[in-house]
């Protein structure tokens, strides 16, 4: 109840502060969407699953999101860190996974990302050679995106690990869970 009241108050403040764009705000919520456009992040419709699963499940106030595939304009980003991709390229791919997670999260929140309380868990899997050891820096691509959006609450209890292979040959896969109201 306390949280909801706070949330409503925050919503009112945001609306008050942006009277000029109130029409646009009414369409798609507010604060987080504004932050996303400030960051130049465009949330597309959630990807359809590539196998027998669902994009997300909700239990109470928790949203669990399926492992997301990194995509760019050419489709899934394939590659292996330590072989044919740099940590920086991996970081950009992990950020793309983060954007895909946001699409699913938005769908789970009935289009209103302002309902997100915090990111709870992130698991990032990085397609790596045996001697690659910067998985944590790759998965920062997801974590720092969420921090830029939600501040400290966007940071998760996280695990970043390496693997020798991922579906479709993608270079990383990230799954996450969020608390929502």
């Amino acid at each position: 109840m306390e949280r909801r009241r706070f949330f409503t108050a925050a919503g009112v403040t945001v609306l008050g502060a942006s009277l000029l764009s109130s029409k646009a705000m009414a369409q798609s919520g507010g604060k987080v969407d504004a932050k996303l456009s400030e960051l130049g992040v465009e949330i597309k419709a959630a990807d359809a699953p590539v196998a027998a699963y669902v994009g997300w499940r909700k239990v109470g106030n928790m949203v669990y999101i399926a492992g997301q595939v990194p995509r760019d304009e050419n489709g899934p980003i394939v590659g292996k860190l330590g072989d044919n991709m740099t940590t920086e390229q991996g970081y950009a791919a992990a950020r793309a996974c983060g954007i895909a997670l946001l699409s699913q999260l938005k769908s789970a929140c009935d289009d209103d990302l302002d309902r997100v309380v915090k990111c709870v868990q992130i698991q990032g899997l990085v397609n790596s050679t045996d001697d690659f050891t910067e998985q944590h820096l790759v998965v920062n691509g997801t974590s720092e995106l969420f921090r830029d959006i939600w501040g400290e609450l966007g940071l998760a209890a996280r695990a970043a690990v390496g693997t020798n292979s991922l579906p479709l040959g993608i270079c990383c896969e990230v799954l996450a869970s969020f608390e929502v109201v």
């Binding site: 196998a51 027998a52 669990y64 579906p167």
Partner: protein, 185 residues
């Protein structure tokens, strides 16, 4: 209450899709205490006999319950080997299905023998032991997912992650970890 109603209607449409068009009697879904219920009937129809829940092979517990959530420890099939070298995707699919059957044994134990208490499969993580160039982990783990869908309907599908690994305990071909939402007895 809304969730229960949703579940009932999902069950009804699932049964309808199976050609059983009769309405699900309200009373039947409200008394899941009755053993040998719908899920057991479905398992029998699929020719699946759930084995005794496996005992842990190391320092862990196979099941944890928190509120209405059941967390099940990683389950493996009886087979060892590497997909892409020793097995094809189709062969490994069957092993992932076997691992899924082990998950159901644990889940049944967690539900005091009554699988009708399952509301939905929430998360599923499938780890496939494979060669570096194998890229069909998602099709392997469909072996588990499609089993759960066949048993529970659409609510059997999870927010899933399928990944590869170069090695697993005791040489398992795959290992699956799942969480389920269940209702009170």
């Amino acid at each position: 209450m809304l969730r229960r109603a949703l579940f009932t209607s999902a069950l009804a449409s699932f049964l309808a899709a199976c050609g059983k068009t009769e309405q699900v009697p309200e009373a039947e879904t409200e008394t899941p205490g009755k053993m040998a219920g719908k899920v057991d009937a479905k398992l029998a129809e699929l020719g699946i006999e759930l084995p005794e829940a496996a005992t842990p092979i190391a320092a862990y517990t196979p099941i944890r319950k928190v509120g209405n959530m059941v967390y099940i420890a990683g389950q493996g099939p009886g087979n060892q080997g590497v997909v892409g070298r020793d097995y094809t995707t189709d062969e490994a699919y069957v092993f992932a299905r076997d691992a899924g059957i082990s998950v159901l044994s644990q889940l049944k134990k967690a539900c005091d023998g009554d699988l009708n208490r399952v509301v939905q499969c929430v998360q599923l993580q499938g780890i496939v032991r494979c060669t570096d160039d194998f890229t069909e982990q998602h099709l392997v783990i469909n072996g588990t997912s499609e089993l759960f869908r066949d048993v529970f309907g659409e609510v059997g599908l999870a927010a899933r992650a399928a990944v590869g690994t170069n090695s697993l305990p005791v040489g398992f071909v795959c290992e699956v970890i799942a969480t389920f939402e269940v209702r009170d007895a």
